[in-house]
Amino acid sequence: MTVADEKKALICLIAGLLRDCNHVAVGAASPIPGAAALLAKAAWGSPMHVNILGSVANNFFTGGGGELFDCAAQGRIDAFFLGGGQIDGSANINLMGRGDYPKSNPRWPGTFGSAYLYFLIPKVILFREEHSRRTLVEKVDFISAPGTSEEGIYRKGGPFGLITSKGYFRFDKNRKRFNLVSVHATNSLEDILDNTGFAFDYLENVPVTPDPDPQLLDLLDRQVKAKIAEVYPNFSNTIFTVTSPD
């Protein structure tokens, strides 16, 4: 499997998780989730609405930069993606920086809308390609947005699962722990155990992430490629073989 194939497999895996949504929003600079949302819409007409922030052609908001957040609070966004420099076993995420705030070192960009959207969007998919003890930690240095909240705190949404370059976890809200659903074909449970900084539930005979559906891959190549190129030109070049124009 080439790197491009691995990324395509991630796109197909994520697309499948969006099929039950009406409206998926994708933050800027999230090419794999963005491609997955566009693929799901092309494949199943569901999600019906895909909003890619920072895009002109694939962003239908007309109310200014605040509309995304209002829209989430209205319950009109079904799925969203968050990442983070650190993610811990309770699904807390850190987009602020390593070390003691405020003198973080390194400092990352900041919290963006995560401290809000994590509470309000039902299906928040954590996506972080790098799977290491540096990114998946026991306890984040700074909680940009908490994975869970106490009883009585208004919370309509939260973490659905975590997808990395090595595997796919679901988050168990009651147990407040991740559960390994499958290991990607190019990887192993042992490698995941070695490279994950937090404890999680798993079966010894954890399944392998199924290969992407060839029809879905075909659709990605044929129909979704052009749309992805409009939004993420550099990314599109890296995962699609450059062919002569026809």
Binding site: G64, M96, K103, N105, P106, R107, T111, E150, G152
Partner: protein, 276 residues
């Protein structure tokens, strides 16, 4: 509304932004006035309180690097695919700027509170985050409409002195066209006044058609306009220019060191006045 609305040079615009001003600036995708940013550095502005609406990028990075900023209030500072912002990263590490780290909807809500002349707007979410723990202004209150325990975060009004941004067009009356970038309208309503650089001046009123009028910020909210074609350079502009990728890469290289950053300012900021 008066035909006598003054259109000023970029350096004159920057001169009327006082030291210590609280300035609201948009995110990199919404129309950043890099021309005004360079003019502020040229006039060696001091003590600025920058409010990134809801985030900032190269604009805050340059102002911080040039020593113009005391406080950065924002939900993020990002240069996107170019990687960590070198001057910002350094300033944070060394503690040379005061950080008021927020989350995007709270920046919008704080501006909306100012826009409505109300002391605060309550907002869901945020509870349990370290952003709340470290924010100097937010308070947790009880929702007065709930019978049970229902804590909610109260976001106080953010009232900038000046909203500063780049837009496609202004007319001779001081009306500004900004299409569907309504966060700029909110910024301007929330601020004492708005200073705007534009790509072009329209000789006819922007209220002439309903289509155009739908995207207008009325002159009532506009303090200064400066004609600065391509004023968002090297950032992209939603209504035209692509980003200058080569220049951004050059910036990242030069800004990696203090000396390199000073060379950058010398070359691209201080010597620009010759062109103005």
């Amino acid at each position: 509304m008066s035909a006598s609305f003054d259109i000023v040079s970029i350096d004159d615009l920057a001169k009327t932004i006082p030291d210590g001003a609280k300035i609201a600036i948009p995110a990199d995708y919404a129309g950043v006035s890099m021309a005004a940013t360079r003019a502020l550095i040229r006039r060696r502005a001091q003590g600025l309180h920058i409010v990134g609406v809801p985030t900032s990028g190269l604009q805050a990075e340059l102002l911080i690097g040039a020593g113009c900023v005391t406080t950065l209030e924002s939900s993020a500072l990002t240069l996107g695919e170019y990687g960590p912002a070198p001057r910002f990263t350094r300033a944070v590490r060394e503690g040379t700027i005061r950080l008021v780290d927020a989350t995007c909807p709270a920046i919008h809500a704080g501006l909306q509170a100012s826009q409505k002349g109300t002391p605060f707007i309550p907002l869901r979410g945020i509870l349990g985050s370290d952003v709340l723990k470290n924010h100097p202004d937010w308070k947790v209150i009880q929702n007065p409409f709930s019978d049970g325990d229902d804590p909610i975060v109260a976001i106080p009004a953010i009232r900038p002195d000046i909203a500063l941004f780049h837009a496609p067009l202004a007319d001779r009356d001081g009306n500004v066209w900004l299409g569907r970038k309504r966060e700029l309208v909110n910024m301007a309503h929330a601020s004492m006044t708005a200073f705007v650089t534009v790509d072009a001046i329209s000789e006819t009123s922007l209220f002439e058609t309903e289509e155009k009028a739908a995207g207008v910020l009325p002159a009532l909210y506009v303090g200064k306009v400066s004609l600065s074609p391509n004023g968002s350079w090297p950032l992209p502009f939603w209504n035209g220019a692509k980003g200058d990728d080569a220049h951004m890469r050059r910036y990242m290289e030069m800004a990696a060191s203090d000396a390199g950053f000073n060379d950058y300012l010398e070359r691209y900021v201080f010597s620009e006045s010759a062109m103005a």
